[in-house]
C-alpha cells in the first residue's frame, strides 16, 4: 500500500472562497492510500513547501498530491520540492482545483464536490505513479536566426558575442530589412542607416556568424537542443567568392523592374544589389525578370563581368544543419491598399505610402533626399498625412493598432518642415498614441515647433483635382467640414504579418494568432518564447513594435538561447513511450504514427520453448520521443505505454471520476 499525502492549497481566497477546504480535507482523508492531509494558505510559498518536505519525512510519504493551481503553473516548482525531500519528482501529482474548479464555479457546494472528485482522481493516479528518470542529451550549441532585419541582426550578434555559433538566414540578397529602408528614426532623428549599417558589417565579419543571404528555411525537424534544419540557398547566379562587387553588371543589364527596396519609386535591373550599403555588397540575378532566363538571349552581365563571377548554371542548393535553438525574426509586410480606393492611391502619383515617403526623405533614395512630387518633381508645399490606413479598421483592414504610425507620421511632419521651407503638414488622426520614452515630447515638437496641423478625423476621400489633391474629411472636435487642396498625400499604412507567416509557422510547429503574427508562450511572462521549446521570437513577426522594442526583444531572445547553450546537455523529458517486449508483435503500427521517427525496429533473440528464435520488435529512442502517446493507441497488442500517462494510470483516473 502506498503512503499518500494530500496538500490542499487555499491560494488565499482564490480557492478557499468557493471551495470548502475543511470538507475537502475530511473527504481526502478517507481516500484509498491517503495517510496524511494538510492544508495551507499558500502552498507555493516557502513555508508551504517546507511543510510538504517535513510531512514527507515525518509520515514517510511516498506519493504526494497537491491540490492547488494548474500544473502548468507550478508543477516544476513542486517536483523540485518533492525531490529535495528525497522522493522521485514524478511521484507528485497535482489536482487543478483553481483554474479548473474554484475560478469557474461560483456555487460553493458544486465547487467543493468537484474539488473532492479532482483530488480523488489525482490520488488514484498518484498511487500508480512510478519513478521516472530524465536522461542527459547532448545539444548542438549553434543557433539559427531566421530573418536579417534589425531583430535578426541584433539576436545574431548577441548570441555570437556570448561565444556560440550562429547561422543567419536572410531571404533577400542583402541584410538590412525594413530598417535599412528608413531615413531617420524617432524620437531622436538619428539616421537609420548610420546606426544599422555598422551592425550589418559586424554580422558579416563576426567569426561566429555564418551569413546566408538569398536563402530560406525549407524544413525544420527535431526539438530543443537538436533541431535539424534544411536551408534552401537560392541560386544567386553570381559566385560570391569571385564577385568583387564592382557593379559593372548593374549598369549594363538591360532588364528593368520596379525596385522593392525603393518601394517601386524607381527601377532596378534584373541583376541587382538592393541598395548601396548592401551586405554582402554583391548582386544577385532575379531570374523572373532576367532577359537571359526569360528569353534565352542576353548574357550581357557575363560579358562585362571582369571577375567571371556570373554563373547561369547555378542551382538552388539544399543544405542541412543541426541547431540547438532557433530565433524567428521575419519582420512584416506593409498593408496592401487594394481596398482603399477612396484614397486614390495608384490613381494619382502624388498619393504615397509612408514607406514610399520614407524613401523620398532618404539621401540615398530616388530623389537624393529631397521631397519631390513624383508627378512633376516639384517640392510639395502642403502635405496631408492620413493615419490609420488599414489599421483599427475591422471592416477593410487590420482591427489592431499598428503602433508605429503615430510616431513616424510625427517624424515625417517634422522632416517635411525641415526639408521644405514654408511647407505645411496636415495630420489626420483618430487618436495620437505616443506611449514611449520621449515620444510625447517628439509629437509635441511636430505641432508646436514644426507647424504641423493635427486634425482629429479620418479622411473620407481624396479627390484628384488636376495637379492637386482635394482631401475631404471633418474635424471631429469642431464639427467643421475639412476640404484641403494639397500637393501630396501620405498614407500611414498599417503593419501586416508576413504573407507567408503561416507557412513558416507550420514548418516550425509554432502557432500564429488570427492576424498571422507568431504567438508567444505567455503574453506577459514569456513574450519571447513560443509554445515550442527552443524556438524564440524577435521583432514585428510577433506583433507590431518599434525599433527599440524590437532590439530589446531580440537581445532577450539571444539570452534565452545563450541560457540553453550554457549547458553541455539537456535533461530529457522522461515521460516517453516504452515497449513491453513480450507483448510486442513487431507489426510496427507504432512506427507509422510517430511524428519524430523515434521508433525503430530492433531484432531480439528470445527463447521459445526449447529453441532460441530471433524476431523484430519496436524500440523507442528516448532522445527523440517527445511523449505524445500516439503510438500507444496505434499498438494493437497494447505493448507500448507512455510513462507518466500509462493506460493503467488513465484508467484509474476514469474509475476515480466515475466512482
Amino acid at each position: 500500500m502506498k503512503r499518500i499525502g494530500v496538500f490542499i492549497c487555499w491560494c488565499g481566497s482564490n480557492i478557499a472562497g468557493t471551495v470548502d477546504i475543511d470538507k475537502v480535507a475530511a473527504a481526502a482523508g478517507t481516500m484509498n492510500g491517503v495517510v496524511y492531509v494538510d492544508q495551507n494558505k499558500y502552498t507555493c510559498s516557502e513555508i508551504g513547501q517546507a511543510m510538504i518536505k517535513d510531512a514527507i519525512k515525518e509520515y514517510k510519504l511516498d506519493r504526494v498530491v497537491i491540490a492547488a493551481c494548474s500544473p502548468r503553473m507550478h508543477e516544476n516548482t513542486f517536483r523540485k520540492t518533492v525531490e529535495s525531500a528525497g522522493l522521485n519528482p514524478y511521484y507528485l501529482e497535482i489536482a487543478n482545483i483553481r483554474e479548473q474548479c474554484s475560478w469557474v464555479h461560483k456555487d460553493k457546494e458544486a465547487g467543493t464536490a468537484k474539488a473532492i472528485s479532482l483530488i480523488r482522481t489525482a490520488v488514484a493516479k498518484a498511487a500508480m505513479n512510478e519513478a521516472l528518470f530524465a536522461v542527459e542529451m547532448p545539444i548542438t550549441r549553434r543557433a539559427l536566426v531566421i530573418g536579417g532585419g534589425i531583430a535578426g541582426i541584433q539576436a545574431a550578434l548577441d548570441i555570437a558575442d556570448t561565444g556560440f555559433e550562429v547561422d543567419l538566414v536572410e531571404r533577400e540578397p542583402s541584410l538590412g530589412g525594413r530598417m535599412a529602408q528608413l531615413d531617420k528614426t524617432f524620437p531622436t532623428l538619428d539616421c537609420s542607416a548610420c546606426i544599422l549599417t555598422p551592425k550589418m558589417v559586424d554580422v558579416a565579419q563576426h567569426e561566429k556568424i555564418r551569413l546566408f543571404t538569398y536563402a530560406e528555411v525549407e524544413k525544420v525537424e527535431g526539438y530543443l537542443g537538436n533541431f535539424t534544419v534544411t536551408i534552401r540557398h537560392r541560386a544567386r547566379s553570381v559566385d560570391l567568392q569571385k564577385c568583387t562587387g564592382c557593379g559593372e553588371c548593374l549598369a549594363k543589364c538591360p532588364a528593368k523592374v520596379a525596385s522593392e527596396f525603393e518601394e517601386g519609386l524607381v527601377q532596378r535591373r534584373a541583376i541587382y544589389t538592393p541598395f548601396p550599403q548592401a551586405v554582402p555588397n554583391k548582386p544577385a540575378i532575379d531570374r523572373a525578370h532576367c532577359r537571359f532566363f526569360t528569353t534565352g538571349k542576353c548574357k550581357v552581365c557575363q560579358k562585362v563581368c571582369p571577375a567571371d563571377a556570373i554563373d547561369y548554371e547555378m542551382e538552388d542548393r539544399l543544405l542541412t544543419n543541426g541547431y540547438g535553438a532557433i530565433v524567428v525574426a521575419t519582420g512584416f509586410d506593409t498593408h496592401k491598399l487594394n481596398d482603399y480606393g477612396e484614397y486614390a492611391y495608384g490613381k494619382h502619383p502624388d498619393v504615397l505610402t509612408s514607406l514610399e515617403f520614407e524613401r523620398l526623405l532618404n539621401a540615398s533614395g530616388p530623389t537624393g533626399g529631397k521631397i519631390l512630387r513624383p508627378s512633376d518633381g516639384k517640392a510639395p508645399k502642403t502635405v496631408a498625412f492620413i493615419q490609420c490606413v488599414g489599421s483599427r479598421d475591422k471592416a477593410k483592414g487590420n482591427s489592431y493598432c499598428a503602433k508605429i504610425c503615430c510616431m513616424y507620421t510625427a517624424k515625417h511632419a517634422i522632416l517635411l518642415s525641415e526639408k521644405v521651407p514654408g511647407s505645411k503638414a496636415f495630420v489626420f488622426y483618430i487618436d495620437v498614441r505616443t506611449a514611449g520614452k520621449d515620444y510625447e515630447e517628439f509629437y509635441t515638437r511636430a505641432y508646436e515647433e514644426c507647424g504641423a496641423s493635427y486634425i482629429k478625423g479620418n479622411v473620407s476621400k481624396v479627390f484628384p483635382e488636376g495637379e492637386k489633391l482635394l482631401v475631404r474629411g471633418v474635424d471631429v472636435l469642431s464639427g467643421a467640414l475639412v476640404e484641403l487642396l494639397v500637393d501630396m498625400v501620405v498614407l500611414a499604412v498599417s503593419v501586416d504579418a508576413r504573407a507567408d507567416a503561416k507557412e513558416l509557422a507550420k514548418k516550425l510547429a509554432v502557432t500564429v494568432n488570427e492576424h498571422k503574427f507568431f504567438t508567444e508562450a505567455h503574453p506577459k511572462l514569456r513574450p519571447v518564447d513560443t509554445q515550442t521549446a527552443g524556438i524564440f521570437l524577435a521583432g514585428v513577426c510577433q506583433g507590431p513594435k518599434d525599433i527599440p522594442e524590437t532590439v530589446a526583444q531580440a537581445s532577450a531572445a539571444a539570452v534565452k538561447v545563450a541560457a540553453i547553450f550554457s549547458k553541455q546537455s539537456l535533461l530529457s523529458n522522461p515521460t516517453v513511450a516504452e515497449v513491453e517486449q513480450k507483448l510486442c508483435s513487431g507489426d510496427m503500427s507504432c512506427m507509422a504514427v510517430c511524428p519524430y521517427g523515434a521508433i525503430s525496429e530492433q531484432v531480439v533473440e528470445e527463447r521459445r520453448g526449447r529453441e532460441m528464435v530471433t524476431r523484430k520488435i519496436a524500440r523507442v529512442n528516448v532522445a527523440l520521443c517527445q511523449g505524445c502517446g500516439a503510438c500507444t493507441v496505434a499498438c494493437r497488442p497494447g505493448a507500448i505505454n507512455l510513462k507518466g500517462f500509462t493506460n493503467q494510470q488513465i484508467l484509474a483516473e476514469v474509475d476515480a471520476i466515475c466512482l
Binding site: Y340, E342, F463, P464, E465
Partner: protein
C-alpha cells in the same frame, strides 16, 4: 441565354426608352428576356431597419415569379430595383430568422434560389465585353463619355458585390468595348442626392453640382447612367444651374447605357 426580366414602375413610364433600348439590344445580342408575371413595385428602397417585414414581400413575390418562370437569373435594369432585389435575395439566403418570417406569409417558400443580375453584369459576364466589342457596328470613336455609377449599383459593397466600391471599372470597360473614350473623374460614385430632390431640392442641387462640374472639367461630353433617378437629378439640376447662369457651359446630355449600346449596335 435566358433570363427572367423585372422592369419596375419607372421603366414602363418615365424611363420607357431605357426599357426599349435594353430589350432591343438584348435581342440583338441573343439574350432572351421574359418579363415576369404580375409584378408589383419593388418598394424602391431596401428597408434599413430590423422591424419592417412587409417591405420584403413585394420583392420576394417577384423572385418567386421569376423562379416559377423557370429561369435561374432575374435581370434588372433600374439601379433601385437591382439594389432592392439583390439585397433582399441575399438577406433571404443568409438570415434564417428573416426567411422564416417572410415564408410564414407567403404561399410558396422562397429560400433565395434565383440569382439577381444587372444588365451591365450580364454584358460583362455572360456576353463578355470582348464579344460585345466584336458585335459593335458603329464604333463610338471619339465620344467622350463620363460613366456615372451613383450609389445603388455598388453600395453597400458587402451586399451588392458588383464591383470595387471606390474604383469600379465595369462601366468603363463597357464603354471601352463600344469604342468610346472614357472620362475619368473622381465624383463618379458620389451620390446625386437621390430622393432628396423630391423634398429638399437645394441639397440635391449642391450634390449634383459637384458631379457635373468635375465631369465637365475632365472633358466629358455626356453622362452615361443606369438609374432613372440619377438621370432625373443630373438633368434637372443641370438645367437649373444653366438657367441660373452659374454654370453656363453645362449642357451635358444624360443617357442610359442601353441607349449608347443601341447606338453602337446600330439599332
Amino acid at each position: 441565354m435566358r433570363y427572367s426580366y423585372y422592369p419596375g414602375c419607372t421603366l414602363k413610364t418615365m424611363a420607357k426608352i431605357y426599357e426599349d433600348t435594353a430589350l432591343s439590344t438584348a435581342k440583338a445580342l441573343g439574350l432572351n428576356l421574359t418579363e415576369i408575371k404580375e409584378w408589383q413595385c419593388c418598394g424602391a428602397l431596401y428597408p434599413l431597419n430590423t422591424e419592417e417585414i412587409f417591405s420584403f414581400f413585394s420583392p420576394v413575390r417577384a423572385l418567386l415569379q421569376a423562379r416559377a418562370g423557370g429561369e435561374d437569373k432575374l435581370l434588372t435594369l433600374c439601379a433601385g430595383c437591382y439594389n432592392v432585389f439583390k439585397r433582399t435575395n441575399k438577406a433571404v439566403r443568409e438570415d434564417g430568422e428573416l426567411r422564416r418570417k417572410i415564408n410564414d406569409y407567403l404561399e410558396d417558400d422562397y429560400i433565395g434560389e434565383v440569382e439577381v443580375v444587372h444588365y451591365l453584369e450580364v454584358l460583362k459576364n455572360d456576353v463578355g465585353f470582348a464579344f460585345l466589342a466584336e458585335r459593335v457596328k458603329k464604333k463610338l470613336t471619339g465620344r467622350k463619355l463620363a460613366p456615372y455609377y451613383g450609389c445603388l449599383l455598388l453600395k453597400p459593397w458587402a451586399e451588392m458585390d458588383l464591383d470595387d466600391v471606390e474604383n469600379p471599372t465595369i462601366f468603363e470597360n463597357f464603354l471601352t468595348a463600344l469604342g468610346a473614350t472614357v472620362v475619368d473623374y473622381p465624383y463618379k460614385t458620389e451620390c446625386c442626392g437621390s430622393y432628396l430632390s423630391m423634398a429638399n431640392e437645394d441639397i440635391a442641387s449642391a450634390a449634383v453640382g459637384r458631379i457635373l462640374v468635375s465631369a465637365y472639367k475632365n472633358g466629358a461630353e455626356a453622362f452615361v447612367v443606369a438609374c432613372p433617378l440619377c438621370k432625373y437629378n443630373l438633368e434637372e439640376y443641370q438645367k437649373e444651374l444653366f438657367a441660373a447662369g452659374r454654370e453656363p457651359q453645362l449642357k451635358l446630355p444624360v443617357v442610359y447605357f442601353t441607349e449608347i449600346l443601341a447606338e453602337a449596335l446600330a439599332l
